[in-house]
């Protein structure tokens, strides 16, 4: 006979509920995110220089990306944001 949810939850054979999820994927930290952004900005600036010569139609898109990347980099400097929620 099938068990009810209550029996599953509170019966003798109830499994131990694990304390935590086991996912191993660490959070992207400010440092790591900043490093990724700085590398991306450097690469995009080089790409932009080339695009100005060889692919001018890409320039607005690359400039927009760079503005966004710099804005995000600035955002990571606001260390107290989490405490003001």
């Amino acid at each position: 006979m099938a068990k009810s949810i209550d029996e599953h939850l509170f019966g003798d054979d109830r499994h131990e509920i694990v304390a935590d999820d086991w996912d191993d994927q660490d959070l992207l930290t400010k440092d790591e995110a900043g490093q990724r952004l700085e590398a991306t900005i450097r690469a995009t600036e080089a790409e932009l220089e080339q695009a100005r010569v060889s692919a001018p139609q890409r320039v607005p898109q690359l400039e927009l990306f760079l503005r966004r990347a710099h804005a995000a980099l600035g955002l990571y400097g606001n260390g107290e944001a989490g405490e003001t929620k």
Binding site: W22, A69, A72, G82
Partner: protein, 409 residues
């Protein structure tokens, strides 16, 4: 370029870090001290707390460590409890305070900045402290508080997180799994507020709940199929990791993460669930897709030879159930996207995921990498994988799908 600039990239697996006031803003006064709230601890004292192997004494720092407290339990990581039991040298530095995190973890507006940078238009977000299926409330001794805790998470996701950009965040809800009737009520309560999908633990029996083969979920499945929302099963949400051999490096566990999703899919397609609930849809989130053709072939092979003496459906092949009911997602899965392979998985069954803000994500290059991995894929298929499948499966603003005439930001 098959992934055209006007196609909006939607992710079916990102994560939020619940900010410190998610529950204190919403729970009644009598539960302010018992409900989930952040406490600050002297890092020199935390060694007295059971941290399951974390060598926190080596992590002594000037600022207090922040941890969640729920009833009388401390939860040792405000982000992901990812590092329990791991040697220090095998994991990265996880933030122990909110001010150490990038704001996009917990702030929905800051998240949009990061998504814009990443070229990701929209996302389905799973919890962190509440666990990937919002199962932390199963721990609660006071089930009235547990229910209020689930509802507070859902209300925060709907009223605060998704409200910041309703066209970009897909509302994903938790459920009070300890009581099926309460689950049904929460489905209807949240659907009335705009919910689009419901979490469910991938291995419910690991948590002491009925399995997919047992009685206990039919009213819930009926309610969910009636409202037309999918069920999202994130790997790890069932509380059990793949087992590594003694002495094996962590790499063996990381490599075999997706075997959890394989086991979940196998359970589902041999269970009565889809036979009894023909409109139910299930997403296997973060499990990858390349393994799906093999497990379907194997399931059908087993079904052909062994169904006669077992309590399994005798007329419908497991792979047919998969195709009609299940979708997967990938961060990077070149094999799964190969010609011939993705058709076997099903072009309509594949979605993209970014996995922000986990370090496994390709942020801020998700779109660039998605473009590269789809170079050989026809435009119409790329559009389905990147956007249209999510719009359809999650009933997420299908009228707002990207069009070739759209201006490209």
């Amino acid at each position: 370029m098959p992934l055209q600039p006007w196609m909006k990239l939607l992710s079916t697996d990102d994560h939020v870090i619940e900010h410190p006031k998610v529950w204190t803003d919403r729970l009644p006064a009598k539960y302010q001290d018992l409900g989930p709230h952040i406490v600050e601890l002297d890092p020199r004292d935390v060694g007295q707390i059971n941290l399951a192997g974390m060598d926190v004494q080596q992590h002594v720092q000037a600022k207090p460590i922040q941890q969640w407290k729920y009833e009388d339990r401390l939860y040792p990581n405000i982000g992901l409890n990812a590092v329990a039991g791991k040697p220090r040298e095998e994991y990265g530095f996880d933030p122990v305070r909110f001010d150490e995190m990038i704001p996009g973890c917990y702030d929905p507006v800051a998240r949009l900045v990061d998504m814009d940078l990443d070229g990701v238009w929209g996302a389905l977000n799973f919890p962190s402290f509440a666990r990937f299926a919002c199962t932390v409330f199963l721990d609660g001794k006071d089930k009235e508080l547990s229910l209020l805790g689930v509802q507070a998470y859902n209300d925060w996701m709907l009223d605060e997180w998704c409200a910041a950009a309703p066209d970009r965040y897909v509302p994903l809800m938790g459920l009070p799994y300890w009581d099926e009737e309460l689950c049904v009520q929460e489905v209807h309560r949240t659907m009335a507020k705009g919910a689009k999908a419901f979490m469910f633990p991938e291995g419910p029996s690991n948590l002491g709940l009925p399995s997919f083969f047992e009685e206990g979920w039919d009213r819930l499945w009926s309610a969910i199929e009636d409202v037309g929302a999918p069920v999202a099963m994130h790997f790890g949400g069932g509380g059990r990791a793949p087992q590594a051999a003694p002495g094996a490096p962590l790499a063996t566990v990381i490599t075999t993460f997706s075997t959890n999703s394989m086991a979940t899919l196998t359970d589902l397609i041999f269970s009565p669930v889809f036979h009894k609930h023909p409109k139910l849809k299930v997403g296997l989130n973060e499990g990858g897709i390349g393994w799906i053709p093999y497990i379907l072939e194997r399931a059908d092979y087993v079904w052909e030879r062994h169904r006669y003496y077992q309590n399994v459906n005798q007329t419908i092949r497991p792979s047919e159930l998969y195709r009609k009911h299940v979708h997967g997602c990938y961060i990077a899965d070149d094999f799964g996207l190969r010609d011939g392979v993705r058709e076997t998985i099903g072009i309509d069954n594949i979605t993209f995921e970014s996995d922000y803000p986990h370090s496994d994500s390709n942020w801020p290059h998700s779109r660039k990498i998605a473009e590269e991995t789809m170079l050989h894929i026809p435009d119409d298929e790329a559009h389905k994988i990147a956007e249209l499948n999510v719009r359809r499966l999650y009933n997420f603003r299908p009228e707002e799908a990207g069009k070739p005439t759209d201006p490209v930001a």
